[in-house]
């Protein structure tokens, strides 16, 4: 159990590092604050690689979720889902925000 906790902490820190890297890249590339999200409709899903499609389908259902919640649905590792969710975020399919220690991926309310 103690080992699990240590791994979880490392993964959280890695997530945070990834976020900082993205923020830095965004500042360097002078991206605007508002990002236009691309829709994850059925035909777009067909064009996604298999590994991302599974994650995207779950996000389409949940609308808002942490990597752990997505992993519970896909039955893959949380760290894998975290990487895929971040990839979807980088490709402008999802937004993400931090709430304390949690990173939440979501689609904006319409």
């Amino acid at each position: 159990m103690k080992e699990d906790r240590v791994i979880e902490t490392i993964l959280e820190k890695m997530d945070r590092m990834l976020e900082l890297e993205e923020e830095t890249l965004r500042i360097i590339s002078r991206e605007g604050e508002k990002r236009e999200l691309k829709p994850l409709d059925a035909l777009t899903l067909l064009d996604l690689p298999d590994h991302l499609r599974k994650t995207a389908m779950v996000m389409n259902k949940l609308k808002e979720a942490t990597a752990k919640e997505v992993a519970d649905e896909t039955e893959r590792e949380r760290s894998i889902e975290s990487a895929y969710l971040n990839q979807l975020h980088r490709e402008d399919y999802l937004l993400k925000r931090r709430e304390g220690r949690k990173v939440i991926f979501y689609f904006p309310e319409e």
């Binding site: 409709d41 059925a42 899903l45 259902k61």
Partner: protein
Amino acid sequence: MKTIAIHSYRGGTGKTNIALSMAECLARREKKVFLVDFDLRAPSLESFFEYKPSYFVNDFLTGRCDAKDVFVKAEGFNDGLFLGFASSEIREIKEAMREDKRKQMKILSRILNGKDLLKDEVDYLIVDTAPGLRYSSTNVILSSDLVLLVSTLDKSDLDGTKRMIEEIHEILDMPHFVIINKVPEGVSGEEVSKEVGDKLSQKMICTILCYCEVMSLRGRQTIFHQQPEHPFSRAIEEIVDKIS
């Protein structure tokens, strides 16, 4: 719950007849079945019944009702058969034709969540889709566990079915089978296999002959309901044996 999409490349392959017959067959086997008409551009399930549903599939997809509100119990059939109708009102058909990506994304989300709500309510969800590759059919295929592709021996139909398998079902790694329907009398099994080609033959689970008795019902009833011993009905039993 197992979700089965009945799909085809072209219209007029006999999808609805097969979908309704399969649904009745499963209900006779004491399964709880929900058959939904998802051909939102050209609904056809309603022609078999005279119901006036309170809610249509269109209402569910646009958030005007829940998935279970669409249920209509099929009278005169086994207890476990429930139906979901698509609206044939032109206003609703026009709305369904809007291929706006964000709207379609919401619809896919409604389908995935609706499936979750139904998973403890029914054993089989059978979805009669629109033919071809369009949003309404792709949304259903993405949400299914198994796709049954219905084709005739028409060359364009077979070529289109093969392309769909290569470009959709294989990419999605989606379990799929092919049913060849309306095979003209006198065409041997060997000829059918030759026409269909290796690719589709491997996935073919049944061939059904073209029966005048089926045509003579003119989409008002199924031969499966009327004549359980008819060769068409036996073919349906064979399909259900293979997929259940």
